[in-house]
Symmetry: C2
Subunit: 189 residues, 2 copies
Amino acid sequence: MTSVYLGLVHYPVYNRNMEVVTSSVTNFDIHDIARTCNTYAIKNYFIIHPSTNQQEIINEILNYWNVGYGKECNPDRNQALSIVKLVNDITECVSNIQKETGQLPIIMTTDARTYSNTISYKLAREELLVQEQPILLLFGTGWGMQDSVMQAFDYILEPIYGVGEYNHLCVRSAVAIILDRLLGSPWWK
Amino acid sequence: MTSVYLGLVHYPVYNRNMEVVTSSVTNFDIHDIARTCNTYAIKNYFIIHPSTNQQEIINEILNYWNVGYGKECNPDRNQALSIVKLVNDITECVSNIQKETGQLPIIMTTDARTYSNTISYKLAREELLVQEQPILLLFGTGWGMQDSVMQAFDYILEPIYGVGEYNHLCVRSAVAIILDRLLGSPWWK
């Protein structure tokens, strides 16, 4: 099985008025997603944020759990957060993976719309996750990543269909569902 | 398909020292789980909390989104939170469902351990979710629900196996994965 990496993108994303913005970091995005990533053996969880002020906040949280009191009082949380890396942008994220693995990653993301390169979970699981090239799964915050950036990615995972019309999962829940579909034990067999 | 309800239990649960306590409410538990519940057409999401002080906080949050400014500024969030009900204990939760449906619900929960009444997701999906009796899915906060309470439930869903040893998903992610396994579209076919 290949190495899978995950990135959470804070720029360039849309706000509710479909303007391109930099979103603020959310503490629960750091913790919840790191715990899910550890459950599914993700190699690194990249928090992608260009703003120096926000990077300081992120580093303070990571330091508390990776070298501070948090490490001592909750080793499980320390384990979860030890795979988190902070980078400025998607390019830096990709070059980290290239340095680590010697290969450029296949980049996949998800969206509520379908595209010409939309791929099903079944196909992604059966064909992409069993080959050699590393995979980078990118998730957008806010109202999703800017269209022009999305178009440069290799695959778009199909939308998560639940029951009915409501489709406003938070990114933390979307990550959990998607990692379980791609990497979880085949419970349906 | 049957009616499915979900409850988040704050008492009686264990703390990290395996003492039985009442856990505090977490704002993200209210929002994230309500959004996931709406995605999978859960009838009601019950927040189960016995403490008057904590109930005041929960009601303040729900009112902001259900009748206050939140309703106006984010109708999707209002829709998500409109299915949330606050009850004192599991008994009150069950009697709410009985009043609504005329039947006692089948109670299922999840645990990191396996029991004599542990059921697979495949069996739960194929046999329980297609019959008439309503289903109540209960999730514990903290370090999980007290053993003696667990023993009174009809079924325990098998643990979520990811990849490797780490098994410390947050309850928000566990809810997302479990609802997708039980109620999501059959993406693996």
